[in-house]
């Protein structure tokens, strides 16, 4: 499973990372804030202690009215370092090793950070005035005292870490809970996917039935997939069934034709016969065999036409076939049958056009359509063919005056081996492949074919083909071929 990516894992990891990042941001904010607060408190305590040191500067009660440091009432912090000087640089009192530091000139208190023996210290440098004997008429003696007081800052950080630790632990616990809940939720949320997969797994080449489970259909994110699967499956099933039906129908057709040929020959061989009987039997057998051949031929034609056109072929589709010529040829071809049935076939066209068809295919298309019309026409009726040319399309209509087609047949009429009557009888001749071949030719050329019932009775076949109109000199030509 190294190559597979898990949505669950990715989701959980994403959420956890986001949560972790926001926790980090929060903790950083807390650290900054806490440090600020703690530093302020630290600085205040520095000031307070420094002031109490200042308070401890007392009159020395000597001649010079000097001052001294009385430490009795002063409490300094742990590991504190201080030095108290007067204006002459006399050290009144000190504790610890004060690192060398420049004294600010201004009177305002100044904070300085410094390292003492590897420890971080924060110092306050503080100037103050001490007046000895202010009550004297001279106004007393003024002493400018400088106090430098510092304590290690480590315990500030200690406080900050203390405060942050709580948040860190809470975040870790929260992350853990989130991971578990997320994993469960996502897995539960993805269960329709598993349902869908299980349902899809049941599809076999025999059983194409697929109905997306309710759980998948009621999930907004899965509905498009479930519906698409259903539609695709239904389509596949349809085409698969069509193929299967075609194969079975084709087998039936071929077997029947084979049975005829075989029985004809076997009948002939049953006993010794006269020369006349033999020649008659052979002629019949040949006829039967020709029919078998034509069935095979039509099947092969259909198979060829239904093969997907390669892109190379379709791009080089040349508008080379004159529709008018092909229709006239088809009419000429069907002349014997039309004559025999005394059917009048008329052809009317205002302009000619070229279609992207092979000429033989076009001829096959029109002669099959015409043959179909003739077969369904009563004797002595008329069949009208009209060619209309548009800017990029041509329409060919073939109209007969037969019995028309039933509503039931309309849905299936272009299916291979479908014959208008439910019997599948071969009486009407043909194998039931003619119209399928027509449809395949039209679709291959990017056109279409449809059959509807005429208002005045009979069927109307409309063939639509992509076409380029011909600026023909034969405009408004109207050809009518009388069958009689």
């Amino acid at each position: 499973m190294t190559g597979s990516r898990s949505i669950t894992r990715r989701l959980v990891v994403t959420v956890l990372v986001l949560e972790f990042v926001s926790a980090l941001a929060l903790i950083s904010a807390i650290i900054v804030h806490e440090r600020d607060v703690q530093l302020k408190a630290f600085d205040s305590s520095l000031i307070a202690t420094a002031q109490s040191l200042m308070g401890a500067v007392q009159d020395n009660e000597d001649e010079a009215d000097d001052v001294m440091l009385d430490m009795r009432s002063v409490q300094v912090g742990k590991a504190a370092i201080f030095r108290v000087e007067d204006e002459r640089g006399r050290v009144l009192g000190s504790l610890g090793d004060l690192p060398p530091m420049e004294k600010p000139s201004s009177a305002a208190p100044v904070f300085r950070d410094a390292d003492v023996n590897g420890r971080k210290y924060r110092f306050l440098i503080f100037h103050a005035l001490r007046i000895v004997d202010p009550g004297k008429p001279s106004g007393g003696v003024r002493h400018s005292i400088t106090i430098i007081y510092g304590t290690p800052v480590r315990h500030v950080w200690h406080e900050v870490v203390e405060a942050v630790r709580f948040f860190a632990i809470a975040t870790a616990v929260l992350l853990g809970i989130t991971a578990i809940v997320m994993a469960w939720l996502v897995r539960k949320g993805l269960s329709p996917v598993h349902d869908l997969a299980r349902e899809a797994e049941r599809i076999t080449s025999r059983d194409w039935h697929f109905e997306a489970p309710e759980s998948a259909k009621s999930t907004a994110e899965l509905r498009p997939l479930a519906t698409a699967l259903e539609v695709a499956m239904a389509r596949l099933q349809r085409s698969f069934e069509q193929q299967r039906r075609f194969t079975s129908d084709a087998a039936h057709e071929l077997k029947t034709d084979l049975a005829i040929v075989k029985s004809s020959l076997q009948l002939l061989a049953m006993r010794n016969r006269s020369l006349e009987e033999y020649s008659k039997g052979l002629a019949l057998s040949l006829e039967d065999f020709t029919r078998l051949e034509s069935t095979v031929q039509k099947m092969l034609t259909l198979a060829r036409l239904e093969q997907p056109t390669s892109s190379e072929e379709s791009s080089s589709a040349i508008y080379s076939c004159s529709l008018s010529d092909a229709i006239e040829d088809a009419i000429n071809q069907s002349q014997p049958l039309a004559k025999f049935r005394t059917i009048d076939v008329s052809f009317e066209s205002k302009a000619d056009a070229k279609a992207p068809l092979d000429y033989r295919d076009a001829l096959l298309l029109f002669s099959n359509t015409l043959l179909n019309a003739l077969q369904h026409s009563p004797d002595g009726a008329a069949v009208q063919i009209v060619l209309k040319v548009g800017e990029s399309k041509a329409w060919i209509t073939v109209r007969d005056h037969g019995e028309g087609i039933s509503e039931k047949a309309q849905a299936h009429i272009f299916e291979p081996f479908y014959r208008g009557d439910p019997s599948r009888s071969r009486k009407s001749g043909g194998t039931g492949l003619g119209l399928s071949i027509c449809k395949a030719i039209c679709e291959r050329a990017g056109g279409s074919i449809e059959i509807v019932n005429n208002h005045g009775g009979g069927a109307l076949v409309t063939i639509t083909l992509p076409a380029e109109p011909l600026p023909s000199a034969l405009q408004a030509s109207s050809v009518s071929l009388k069958a009689q």
Partner: protein, 227 residues
């Protein structure tokens, strides 16, 4: 013996009818299921050859209706469809045999004859009554080992009578089972054929084989048939 062929494929039916007639059977042909069903239910056939894909009424329904009408005529199904399932269903629905297209004409004839034989309780192609042997495969007749030359109709009458031992067979029944609709037939034709048959079967010192029961019909002699 009279056979009904229900097959819509014209050329195939023509060939089968010709072959069946040449092998000594009377044949009627129906080109669709409804006509076939109608004919089959007259009960005059000794076997029915039934195609499955028929116009108007499918072979399956023809078979079902035949069995519903309590007719036990043996039925041989012709099918061009694949799949064993439908064959099992058909056999269960009362078919007796089946052949798939394209079939062998000789095999079809042999199977039809076997069906007719079995329907009357005989399992070999050679029927024996008393000292008469009738070979249905070769269509030959011998009495006491001596070949007897019979016309096709005489042969068919004898074959039919042997298939119905001890029963009195009327002229009407013989007409129904020996001739199809294509024949011009009258009951006195039967009489003429029977008398010819009697004459040809007559061997010195032997009992006459066929008995005439006035106004009722014919039957093979009891003692002869009992053997």
């Amino acid at each position: 013996m009279r056979v009904l062929l229900i097959e819509d494929e014209r050329r195939l039916a023509e060939n089968m009818v010709a072959a069946l007639r040449e092998s000594g059977l009377a044949v009627d042909h129906a080109a669709d299921g409804e006509a076939g069903s109608h004919l089959a239910e007259q009960g005059v056939y000794d076997a029915i050859v039934l195609d499955l894909m028929l116009p108007l009424k499918t072979g399956q329904r023809v078979l079902r209706d035949l069995r519903r009408a309590k007719l036990n005529t043996p039925v041989l199904i012709l099918t061009a469809q694949e799949g064993k399932e439908s064959i099992v269903n058909l056999l269960n629905a009362g078919a007796d045999d089946y052949l798939s297209k394209p079939f062998d004409l000789g095999e079809l004839l042999a199977r039809i004859k076997a069906l007719i034989r079995r329907a009357s309780g005989v399992s070999t192609p050679v029927l024996v009554v008393s000292d008469v042997e009738l070979d249905t495969a070769q269509q030959t007749v011998r009495r006491r080992g001596r070949p007897i030359d019979l016309s096709p109709t005489e042969y068919r009458i004898l074959e039919y009578l042997i298939h119905r031992p001890r029963a009195v067979v009327s002229q009407q029944e013989l007409l129904e089972h020996l001739y199809d609709f294509d024949w011009e037939h009258h009951s006195n034709v039967i009489e003429a054929h029977i008398s010819n048959l009697r004459r040809k079967l007559n061997v010195a010192g032997a009992e006459p084989l066929i008995e005439t029961l006035r106004h009722r019909g014919y039957r093979l002699r009891q003692e002869a048939a009992a053997l």
